[in-house]
C-alpha cells in the first residue's frame, strides 16, 4: 500500500479499508510504503492504531517502509512501534517476510 500526501482522517480511513479488505481476503503480510507521505496528524495516527489492531486480530503482520524520522517518532510516541515492523525500503521488508516463510 502506498498512501500519499497528508494522512488525516480521510487518507487514513481509506488505508484502513484497503488493509481490511486484504486481511479479509486472507493476506496476512502487508507492507505500507510511506515514501509519498508528507504529513501525518494525530487523527491519522489514531486510525493507524485501529488498523494495527485489525491486523493483530487477523494474525497479520504490518511492515512500514520508507518512513521519515519525524513520522516514525509519531508512531513511537503513541506506542505503535512494538506492533509494527519498520524497514528502510520495500526490498528489505520483502526479504524479511520471505525469510519468515
Amino acid at each position: 500500500m502506498m498512501p500519499k500526501g497528508y494522512i488525516n482522517d480521510l487518507g487514513a480511513e481509506c488505508l484502513e479499508q484497503t488493509s481490511e479488505q486484504f486481511l479479509g481476503q486472507g493476506l496476512k503480510k502487508l507492507i505500507v510504503n510511506f515514501s509519498d507521505v508528507q504529513f501525518i496528524n494525530t487523527i491519522g495516527v489514531s486510525i493507524f492504531t485501529s488498523m494495527v489492531q485489525k491486523a493483530l486480530e487477523y494474525n497479520g503482520l504490518l511492515c512500514f517502509t520508507n518512513m521519515k524520522k519525524v513520522h516514525r517518532d509519531i508512531f513511537e510516541m503513541v506506542g505503535l512501534m512494538k506492533y509494527v515492523r519498520f524497514f528502510k525500503d520495500e526490498e528489505e521488508a520483502i526479504l524479511f517476510l520471505k525469510g519468515r516463510n
Binding site: Y6, N8, D9, S35, F39, I40, N41, T42, I43, V45, S46, I47, T49, N66, M67, K68, K69, V70, R72, D73, I74, M77, V78, F86, K88
Partner: protein, 555 residues
C-alpha cells in the same frame, strides 16, 4: 492593611476574575453563595486579587461585609489563632459599617481593648460574640466560636460576610498544646459551606487540594497573563521609574505571564538608567542567580528539605525531571537515585507540595514555567556542580541571549476550512528553505503546527475570523504562534487547553498536545483578547547544505 498594593486603575490584568469573584460573593446578599478556591502557581497574583476584592467590597457596596485574613505561620496554636481571627473579624466588620479605614489597622487589639471598642460602638451582636468567646471553656471551643463568628454575625445582623483567607494551606499546621493537628482545619467545614459567608481561599494549591475541607469547594484557576498584559505591565513599571525604553519581547515571553517574575526582572533592570536589551537579560540572569526570584525558590527548597543531603538529592531529582522527556514514577526515581521507594515518594511529594513539580497521582513531571526551569538549572550548576558564579552567568547568557540577528516575521490568516493547516505547514517549509534552516527540525515543527492549527479550529468553531498564524525567525530560533477565537482554556495544573482532551478523545486527538511538546522545544498557551494563543518555539539550527524537497532524512 488588607488593601491591594496597586491602585484600582492600575489593576488591569485580572479584571474579569475580580468581577467574577465580586459577583459571586454578592450573591450572599440575596441567595446563598458558594465558597471558592482560587488556585494558581506562586507569583501569579492570588494575594493581590484577594486584596483588590476586599477593597472593592469595602468601598463599593453595603450589602456584604468583607473580612480578609492571612494565616500567620507564627500564630498557629489554637488559642492565639482564634483570638487573632476573632479580633480581626470584629475590627473589620465594625470598620465596614461606617467605612472607617482606621479601624482596619487596629487588629492587634487585646481582648480588653476589643471589649472597649465594642462598647464604644454599642454593637450588641459583637458584644454577644465576644462574651461567648471569653466564656469558652477550652481552646477548641474558642476556636470553633472564632471561626463561626462571621456566620453568627450574619445570622444576627442579616449582613452576610465574605471571608477572604490567604495562605489557607498553612492551617494544616494548626496546633493544640504545641503539636500540629491537621484535623483542626476541618473546623472550617461548616463556615465554608454556609451560604451567607462565602469564603474565597487561596494559598499553595497542591497543599489546599489535599485538605479534606477543600473537596466541596468551587475552583477558579488564575492563568498566566497574556503577552499583551505582560507588555503593559512592564511598560507601566518602567514608566513609573521614568524609563523610556521597552523590555525585550523575547524576555517578556520567557517570564511566562507571571506578574511577580515580570515585576522582579523589570525592577532589577530599571535600577540602571535607560537599560538596553542586554541590561534586561543581565537583570534576568541576576534575578534567577541571586535575586528575589532565586531566593524565593531556594528558600522553598530549604524549608521542604532542611537536611543537606536530602536537599541535594531533591535538587538533582528536580533537575533530572526538568530535562527528561518522560514523566517520572516513584519507582523510576528510586532506581535513579538509589533511594527506597518510601524515600523516593517522600522526596517527590515534598517537591510537588513546594511547587517544583506536578503530579498529584504519583507520576511527576516538570512545571510549565520557564523561569523556574532556569532557576533549577542555575541552582544545580551552583550547588551540585559547584560552578563559579561568573561561569554560571556566562553559560546562562549564552543560552538565553538572542543571536543578535534581526527577527524576520511572516503572518498568515487561515480560513476555517478543511486542511487549511497544510497551508501553515507549507509556509514553514518555504521559510525554512529561504532562510537555510535545518529541514529535519522544520519537519518536526510542521507536525506540531498542524496539531496546533487543528486544535485552534476545534476550539474556535463558529468564529468567523479564522486563525492567525505568525512565524518569527530570529537567528536559529523559530517561534510560531497560532491564535484563534476559541475561549476554551486550560486546567492550571497542566497548563493545557482542556478542549484537547474533551473534543478529541473519540477521534484520537488527545495526543495533539503531547505531539506538540515532543516536536517543539517549548509550548505555551496564552489567553488573549481574541481567544487562545498557542506558541511553539524551536531552535531549528542552520542547514549544512540546502536540501531539496523530499530529501528529509529517512530511516
Amino acid at each position: 492593611m488588607p488593601f491591594g498594593s496597586l491602585q484600582e486603575k492600575d489593576f488591569l490584568d485580572r479584571q474579569s476574575e475580580l468581577a467574577d469573584l465580586y459577583q459571586r460573593v454578592l450573591q450572599a446578599g440575596a441567595h446563598a453563595a458558594r465558597s471558592v478556591v482560587v488556585a494558581g502557581p506562586r507569583g501569579i497574583g492570588k494575594t493581590e486579587l484577594l486584596k483588590q476584592l476586599f477593597g472593592l467590597l469595602f468601598w463599593r457596596q453595603d450589602r456584604v461585609s468583607p473580612f480578609y485574613v492571612v494565616v500567620n505561620p507564627a500564630l498557629l496554636s489554637a488559642t492565639p489563632f482564634s483570638q487573632t481571627y476573632l479580633t480581626q473579624f470584629l475590627c473589620q466588620r465594625l470598620a465596614f459599617e461606617k467605612k472607617e479605614q482606621s479601624l482596619l489597622q487596629r487588629d492587634g487589639l487585646s481582648l480588653d481593648g476589643l471589649s472597649a471598642l465594642v462598647e464604644d460602638r454599642d454593637a450588641a451582636w459583637a458584644r454577644e460574640l465576644l462574651d461567648q468567646y471569653r466564656q469558652s471553656s477550652d481552646p477548641l471551643s474558642a476556636l470553633r466560636i472564632a471561626l463561626s463568628a462571621p456566620s453568627r454575625s450574619a445570622l444576627i445582623t442579616g449582613t452576610p460576610v465574605a471571608v477572604l483567607i490567604d495562605e489557607f494551606h498553612r492551617l494544616k499546621g494548626l496546633s493544640l498544646e504545641g503539636s500540629p493537628d491537621p484535623h483542626l482545619a476541618s473546623f472550617f467545614e461548616s463556615p465554608l459551606s454556609y451560604g451567607k459567608t462565602p469564603h474565597v481561599i487561596t494559598g499553595n494549591a497542591p497543599e489546599i487540594e489535599e485538605m479534606p475541607v477543600s473537596s466541596g469547594l468551587d475552583r477558579m484557576a488564575l492563568l498566566p497573563l497574556g503577552f499583551e498584559d505582560v507588555s503593559s505591565k512592564a511598560v507601566s513599571l518602567l514608566r513609573a521609574n521614568e524609563i523610556k525604553g521597552d523590555a525585550p519581547p523575547l524576555l517578556l515571553r520567557r517570564l511566562g505571564g507571571n506578574p511577580f517574575s515580570v515585576e522582579c526582572v523589570v525592577r532589577a533592570a530599571g535600577a540602571k538608567k535607560n537599560p538596553e536589551e542586554r541590561d534586561f537579560w543581565n537583570a534576568y540572569v541576576r534575578e534567577i542567580r541571586e535575586g528575589t526570584l532565586a531566593r524565593f525558590w531556594s528558600s522553598a527548597l530549604k524549608s521542604s528539605f532542611p537536611d543537606l543531603g536530602s536537599r541535594r538529592t531533591a535538587l538533582s531529582l528536580t533537575h533530572k525531571i526538568y530535562h527528561a522527556n518522560e514523566p517520572f514514577t516513584c519507582r523510576r526515581i528510586a532506581a535513579a537515585f538509589s533511594l527506597t521507594d518510601r524515600d523516593a515518594e517522600a522526596t517527590a511529594r515534598a517537591l510537588y507540595f513546594a511547587g517544583f513539580i506536578q503530579g498529584e497521582f504519583g507520576v511527576f513531571r516538570a512545571v510549565e514555567d520557564g523561569v523556574l526551569r532556569d532557576i533549577v538549572d542555575c541552582l544545580y550548576l551552583k550547588e551540585v556542580l559547584a560552578k563559579a558564579p561568573q561561569d554560571i552567568e556566562r553559560e546562562l547568557l549564552e543560552k538565553l541571549l538572542p543571536q543578535g540577528e534581526k527577527a524576520v516575521r511572516f503572518d498568515v490568516t487561515l480560513p476555517m476550512t478543511r486542511e487549511a493547516e497544510l497551508v501553515a505547514a507549507q509556509c514553514l517549509d518555504q521559510i525554512g528553505k529561504n532562510m537555510n534552516l535545518n529541514q529535519d527540525a522544520i519537519g518536526q515543527l510542521q507536525i506540531a503546527v498542524i496539531e496546533a492549527c487543528i486544535n485552534a479550529m476545534e476550539h474556535g468553531k463558529g468564529a468567523e475570523n479564522g486563525i492567525s498564524v505568525s512565524v518569527a525567525v530570529e537567528g536559529e530560533r523559530m517561534e510560531v504562534s497560532i491564535e484563534s477565537a476559541g475561549r476554551e482554556f486550560i486546567a492550571q495544573e497542566t497548563g493545557e487547553p482542556f478542549g484537547d482532551h474533551e473534543v478529541a478523545k473519540p477521534s484520537g486527538r488527545g495526543w495533539g498536545i503531547k505531539l506538540m511538546k515532543r516536536f517543539a522545544d517549548d509550548v505555551r498557551f496564552e489567553k488573549t483578547a481574541r481567544g487562545t494563543k498557542t506558541i511553539l518555539i524551536k531552535n531549528v539550527g542552520k542547514s549544512i547544505n540546502v536540501q531539496k524537497e523530499g530529501s528529509t532524512e529517512r530511516e
